[in-house]
Subunit: 116 residues, 2 copies
Amino acid sequence: MSATTAENVDDDLWSAIGDPTRRRMLDLLLIEGDGTATSLAQRLPVTRQAVAKHLGVLDRAGLVRGTPAGREKRYRVDDAQLARAVAQLSSVGAAWDARLQRIKRIAEAIQRTQQD
Amino acid sequence: MSATTAENVDDDLWSAIGDPTRRRMLDLLLIEGDGTATSLAQRLPVTRQAVAKHLGVLDRAGLVRGTPAGREKRYRVDDAQLARAVAQLSSVGAAWDARLQRIKRIAEAIQRTQQD
DNA sequence: GCGATGTGCAACCGTTGGTTGCGCAAATGC
DNA sequence: GCATTTGCGCAACCAACGGTTGCACATCGC
């Protein structure tokens, strides 16, 4: 294990949460429990259709699940999948962090050597 | 403190690290210390010009800095800026995590109530 | 000086986030 | 029961972006 490239990352998941509008949509869904394309669009600076497309992306990525209810379609976050996404976020962050730490240690070591 | 929307995120920074190719470029630069457009392109499945464009994006975002050296231009990671980016990654992750935790607690509370 | 190597610029293509416009299904009102 | 609203889905279109090819220009090595 421990790939050298830190790209164990599920690219679909990442690109799903990579878009700022989609991140805000996830925020709203988490806060309000659920929502429809129109209800989300009211709270966002984009049209209903744009929101609908994003919901499609999030759905295909498995981050949300939509269930028809009468004439409207309510979406809610899939907790487990979002948890997975969060894990990947922190995994990438951790990898970079580790490398930065190592570089810092090396730099300090060099300084110490030169001070001798 | 505690913005409700978890979008304290510098959008330029995020979109810079949002692209998978750019993430791999940062990886390579961290591993090898520095690199040029051509050197990175050899280790990536894209052309030199694509890499050059990405370096431009990363440069404008402040994540890398390029210094001309003869006929080539060597880039290296700006540690402080990347550290900032990592912090934002984990901040978004933490916000979602907190909400998921809260939902979980509420769900458990409801279960407990119903079991009474 | 001359070929090889590295960079930068410009034109072009496919994908994607966004828009407008339309048609259709389900709730509401009389 | 029928007309009106309200919510959804589909299609066409546009701008921005990641990627490509092609070319011109600078620099290093011999």
